[in-house]
Amino acid sequence: MRALCWEGVGKLAVRDVPEPRIRAAGDIIVKVRASSVCGSDLHLINGYLPAMREGDVMGHEFMGEVVETGPGVQRLRVGDRVVVGSVVACGGCWYCRTEQFSLCDNSNPQPVLTEKLWGHSPAGILGYSHAAGGYAGSHAEYIRVPFGDVGAFPVPDGVPDDAAVFASDAMPTGWMAADFCGLKGGEVVAVWGAGAVGQMAARSAQILGAERVIVIDRLPERLATAAARLGVETIDYARTDVLEALREMTAGRGPDACIEAVGMESHDVGPTYAYDRVKQSARLQSDRPTSVRQAIMACRKGGTVSIVGVYAGLVDKFPLGAAMNKALVLRMGQMHAQRYIPMLLDRLAAGEIDPGYLATHPLPLDQGVRGYELFEKKRDGCLRTVLHPVG
């Protein structure tokens, strides 16, 4: 079958690879119908998470059709159109039992590196390097999904593939970001990043009761899309002092909750950003936390900072004093896909959230390399490239 593989830092190629096979009773094989690129893939492609091996199949946000099930699979049938959470969860450990699926104890078979880096190993993630288990990814014609009954969910009829695909990762990540904020109704929420996750976080915050949502980015077309589709206010950080603007927009209080949906390759303007880039290039820090710093500084006293952008290691100049003295609540994590997906699919079917517009560039799998280039360089108004391995 054809698959988009990582070939070295900054290099991708479409290759012929063997088809996956059922390996355990709970496995299912999914014929991929739509597989989205994701901002966190860029960290892998560009070598910031140094656990990729040449030939690894990329991709973790996808949906498709069940074509084979292991003997232990009970909930799914061949022919089901399903969306699969990118985080692998066993369904049997304490973390899964308490719905903290991205912390699953048993789904990362290669936990040694993450245990050294982070003290404990979180769940495995499909197509997300050997630090996250070494699973083959979804930018392929077929993918093996372990624990199919736990991680795959039938898509309601009428929901198109290019909308359902975002229920795999961008929607649950955005929802969890808003969920972390503990909204009670009437809050002002600021969201850093107008990518797919940031826009889904903004929409989720609206549904959960935020009165005003302010989205921060530098790409005019993304800000315009967010404003038009979601009715949010926007700040272009390349033209405006974000902290000043947020203070003014909230009459001095600062946003009640700040969501960071950017991650370790965060961009900014000015000398601090140049300094961060140099340090990161020299591997003196692994992550650039520009937007986290801003979120902490902007947040109102006693407010919540919710981080769903992906970070991997160490950061410099983290304003811990601001967080401590303002008594902020910091919440963060990889999303618990399996907790949120069923509820999100219901909302999708009801038309309450419509993420289909995020798929600005549907492309065949063979054009995967170009798809990532469009996405990374933000060319042609690309918000997300969605690859279609079959037709």
Binding site: P20, G55, C90, W94, R97, P111, H130
Partner: protein
Amino acid sequence: MMSRATRWALAGVGTVGVVGVGRLVARRRRRHQPERQDGWYVVRRGITVDRPRDAVIGFWTDRERLDRALAEWATLERIDGDRWRCVAADPAGGGTAWQAEITVEGPGLLRWTVVDGPVRQEGRVELVDAPQDRGTEIRAELRYRSGPVRRAFGLVGGDEPDLALRDTLRRVKSLVECGQIIDTRRDPSGRSERQERATDKVREKLTTGGRA
């Protein structure tokens, strides 16, 4: 030209630096060494399984399920009443790696002794109720004959009783909680056979040991 005084000063600073770093490294290494008793290393490891104690004991007494679980890496046969013989397969496929005798000493308590293996070792396992409805703590104490050099080589080469114990505890937890040990070797990839072999070595490194 450097004066004699400068040379002495530099030599002095260098020596103090080297000795200082050496002491720090030695202290760190000592902190990471397991306890030693009469030529035996003693390590204690534990893992928490999200099942009540009876369910964990039940797993080991359900012969059919146990055989299925152990299929790939060991066989278990009963010698008499409370004694069992466990023969573990060499993961590389080179036949028997070691044979152990396991004695059940009571509910939730067993001991093992390796009777045929490269390193003399014995150990005990105790099952304890975990607090806050967190299931069962499997607490293991392993004693094995080895020396610092052999241990260092073992840790680097991934062939060390302590690493094997941690692997085993993780496998047991996974088998009890989700009925399988997840494996991503042979997942599709665009690698050549040579690249795949190299990747398997990396996988082995990332799989062996860990925090139990």
